[in-house]
């Protein structure tokens, strides 16, 4: 199957490029670790507040933190693509018979792998602080992170191909990712929010992922919200891949 073979080739290439600078894995985890160490302790005194989900500060905060990792990690992937665009690498691939889906998927799979490794590191680091993970919880969590990674990275690549310059790409992702983060309930659960804010947050697909992640870490793994979160993230991934692949097959001029 040509698509699979091409995707595998692209994945290998980008993984190799990445492994030449493995420090990025650690740098990517650094920011969430700072939240874990310097922010999460603030939540301990809030756990008794009415509306705060049960399960303890870390079981509530860490699942959201992983969603945030997925969002931020994936939205930054366009920078590498812009550098390759400038070096002529993308043009070179587009002249070959390689599948346009593979150009996108090969890269995105590398990004997903990175996110999964970073998630596992973060989960491991959170245990001494008081996180109590379950096996099924970890699997669902990684699935959510992978789907967010696929969807957001694909959209990030589409944006990078359209903008072609770091100068316009950087402001775009910073401007878009902050409201996505604030309206997702990662930092503080949206149950604490006033009604109007909760309504706005309902338009943010990531808020469903955060809800699903929290449920599965706090003994509500069979809750419909978990399936809802997974389904919405899967839909986001499909849309992202279609938009991204379309961009890869279109002329870059």
């Amino acid at each position: 199957m040509k698509l699979l073979q091409d995707t595998w080739l692209m994945f290998q290439r980008y993984l190799m490029v990445f492994l030449r600078n493995p420090a990025w894995v650690i740098i990517g985890v650094l920011q969430p670790v700072l939240y874990l160490v310097l922010f999460a302790p603030l939540l301990k005194s809030l756990t008794q507040t009415p509306g705060f989900p049960s399960g303890g500060a870390y079981n509530v905060f860490v699942p959201g933190l992983l969603i945030q990792l997925g969002l931020f990690g994936a939205s930054g992937v366009g920078f590498g693509l812009i550098a390759e665009l400038r070096a002529g690498v993308i043009e070179r691939f587009r002249v070959t018979p390689v599948s346009r889906f593979a150009l996108l998927l090969g890269r995105a799979l590398r990004d997903i792998l990175t996110l999964v490794v970073q998630s596992l590191i973060l989960l491991g680091l959170a245990i001494p602080f008081g996180l109590q993970p379950t096996v099924s919880g970890v699997f669902v969590m990684l699935g959510l992170v992978a789907l967010i990674g696929l969807g957001m990275a694909s959209l990030a690549y589409a944006a990078a191909l359209a903008l072609k310059s770091e100068d316009s790409y950087a402001p775009l992702i910073f401007t878009l990712s902050l409201p996505l983060l604030l309206l997702s309930g990662v930092l503080l659960p949206l149950q604490l929010a006033p009604q109007w804010l909760q309504h706005i947050a309902q338009a943010n697909p990531l808020s469903y992922a955060v809800t699903a992640a929290r449920d599965v870490f706090n003994g509500h793994g069979a809750d419909p919200d978990v399936f809802k979160g997974l389904a919405i993230m899967a839909a986001l991934a499909v849309v992202g891949v279609l938009v991204g692949a379309r961009r890869f097959s279109r002329a870059i001029s």
């Binding site: 091409d6 190799m16 490029v17 691939f93 002249v95 070959t96 018979p97 390689v98 870059i252």
Partner: protein, 314 residues
């Protein structure tokens, strides 16, 4: 190998549509080095990117390596190699790795791709640097690697976009040798350049493009013969216009242009025209600063077709 008919490409810009390629008819034969010469912004790269499937055609038709460009771009891709102006390789990846990946994207087995990469590394004299990341390469090494990447799958037709821009004279001469070797092995080469010397020395046939249109095409010698027999360059001290007015009326002058006190005369026979030029200017009392007799260059061809010197336009 390439046939185009009324090929056009229009870009939408904020100020309205711009026709970058405005009706190009080309015919490139198998096994030749075809040069596409023109100033920057003339439409060379746009044409090249259309012919190599990177950019959709706005209108017109083209057959590349036996397949219709509009309807069978996927088949065209297997037959062609393309070396862009920007390069081809990521800075952190070794050249050999890029070559092998390139081969595999065309469906080569790993073993075959490794073998082919080794042949190209040897042929392009990249053995010293093949296993180092490409960011450590010299300009000439990087360009040779780019050509190697374009050749991995043994294409019938290789597109080279400005292959020697930015190279030092030594690397340029070496690149010319590589291109000639390709032709000798039967590969058709289509290259763009804004260097006259390159088009003249390297190409079997040339098309000159300006403002998106072909203004001349043929072998370098044919093009130069079209201009006239010889070119006489008359240098004066600020009396260029005056000299031009005088000489233009002479029967032996076919065409004349003047710029910055220098007059260029296109004549049939330079040897007999020279004394006449001297006599005319002498009797008008115009002092000569210099006088030379040249064979027409491609710049003269360009000048005649567009009214500008390619050196000024580029």
């Amino acid at each position: 190998m390439i046939e185009t008919h009324d090929l056009r490409r229009t870009f939408k810009t904020r100020r309205g549509p711009v026709e970058a390629v405005a009706g190009v008819d080309l015919s490139v034969k198998q096994g030749e080095i075809f040069g596409f010469l023109g100033p920057n912004g003339a439409g060379k790269t746009t044409t090249l990117r259309m012919l190599s499937t990177l950019l959709p055609i706005t209108s017109g038709d083209a057959t590349v390596a036996g397949f219709n460009l509009r309807h069978e771009p996927a088949k065209v891709r297997y037959q062609i190699g393309y070396v862009s102006q920007e390069g081809s390789s990521a800075p952190e990846v070794p050249g050999r790795t890029e070559l092998v990946i390139q081969g595999r994207l065309y469906g080569m087995s790993k073993a075959k791709a490794v073998e082919r990469a080794a042949v190209l590394i040897e042929a392009l004299e990249l053995s010293d640097c093949a296993d180092r990341p490409t960011k450590s390469y010299s300009g000439g090494q990087r360009r040779r690697l780019d050509v190697g990447v374009g050749l991995m799958h043994l294409p019938q037709l290789l597109f080279l976009d400005e292959p020697t821009t930015g190279l030092d004279p030594q690397s340029r001469a070496r690149m010319w040798d590589e291109v000639r070797k390709l032709r000798d092995r039967g590969t058709t080469v289509f290259l763009t350049t804004h260097y006259l010397e390159e088009a003249d020395a390297l190409c079997d046939r040339i098309a000159i493009i300006d403002h998106g249109k072909i203004v001349a095409n043929g072998t370098p010698d044919e093009l130069k013969r079209q201009v006239a027999g010889d070119v006489i360059v008359v240098g004066t001290d600020n009396a260029g216009e005056q000299a031009l007015a005088l000489l233009r009326g002479e029967s032996f002058v076919r065409e004349a242009t003047a710029a910055d006190g220098t007059v260029r005369l296109y004549v049939d026979r330079g040897e007999t025209a020279m004394p006449q030029v001297l006599r005319v200017l002498d009797s008008a009392g115009i002092a000569l600063a210099s006088l030379s007799l040249n064979r027409p260059s491609l710049d003269d061809v360009f000048l005649r077709q567009t009214g500008r010197s390619l050196r000024d336009a580029a």
